[in-house]
Symmetry: C2
Subunit: 237 residues, 2 copies
Amino acid sequence: MCETCGCGDSDLVPVEVHEAILSENERGARHNREHFNEARVLAVNLMGSPGSGKTAVLEATARALAGKRRLSAMSGDLATDNDANRLEAAGIPSRSITTGSACHLDAKLVHEGLHDLPWRETDLLFIENVGNLVCPAVYDLGQAVNVVALSVTEGEDKPLKYPVMFRTADLVLLTKVDLLPHLPQIDVAAIEDGLARTMPDPAVIHVSAITGEGIDRWVGWLEEKRVVARSEVAARV
Amino acid sequence: MCETCGCGDSDLVPVEVHEAILSENERGARHNREHFNEARVLAVNLMGSPGSGKTAVLEATARALAGKRRLSAMSGDLATDNDANRLEAAGIPSRSITTGSACHLDAKLVHEGLHDLPWRETDLLFIENVGNLVCPAVYDLGQAVNVVALSVTEGEDKPLKYPVMFRTADLVLLTKVDLLPHLPQIDVAAIEDGLARTMPDPAVIHVSAITGEGIDRWVGWLEEKRVVARSEVAARV
């Protein structure tokens, strides 16, 4: 199974190989985190299933923060630069990280991605992970916060079925809530109950990138985290 | 990166470890395939993102084939028996394969799953993979056909962004088409164009598990594959 991912166990992967991969990633994540702290940039690891609305949320974020905060982004995908192009068009300096067949970003890929991006001159760096509700959860990228986009169209039981992801989430954005009137079978309370049972410190914001619902709360959450992160860094200096 | 998955490349994973994992899986898949052929059971590997509607399609399939074909199923999930329970309730003898933190099924897990399931007495065995549009594509389970469920809510560019999955697909079920009237921004022709560019032999059926649209075509496709597979096996004996 997929032991280098951290997802599974296999007699075929020597323990030392697995440990080497994760400890190498941790070293890289620590290094990235030092960069982010030093530059006072809040790094956000945005994860979620394919099509959960990660890019659309970032486009809406760009609209909400235009002229107020400086944003930058990296987008991880197996193929195409589509997401980075969409974010550039929305006014966010962005860089695509094309992973080929890899199912998640790791600290090294993020570090390489920093080189061609004016992230130091921004307040917020969004790292849009590969669309995958499993593997990205295991890899620390050096981010300050983990945010998971979960679409209401994905059904009610995803938090309980993919607990590894939701256990690492600081915030869940429940996306595409504009579709709820057309989804009579979806019980939002059941989704929230699942999140309450898996997230260590449950925090959920309902958003719609189309109507703009909840984007102000999301932007407020980001601002709060940014202030906290900056004061923590200041206290350490 | 995730080399034991086959998704990525890492200097840290020795080539022989990677090769050992895939060749071990191939051996297992070959063994499963012999079982399936011998019992004249069509094994269907059903893949797709979390929430793409895999279980709902199988529930609709059970309704359409009730009294006509005998079905069995395995459902892979990180946690919970929810899907297998839903399929049992729909009248399909089912078994849950709980992977813990693993992002895909492999041939060995499927083989173990066969032991507690009366699959030999059925015509069709559905193997519902872990919800993931990346890693499951790399692992042969011994199935006769690969089917990918892709929801219209996932956006238009998924085939191009996740080409590894769509390159292995014999059929794509475009699910949740009942929601299309509420998704004016989704251009179905763009999705189909992406599939035409990635699938080796493009085949797409539009379905809705709620309205039943397209389920007759899907069931017809399965029947056709079942007949072809049986005649191929007969020709070899």
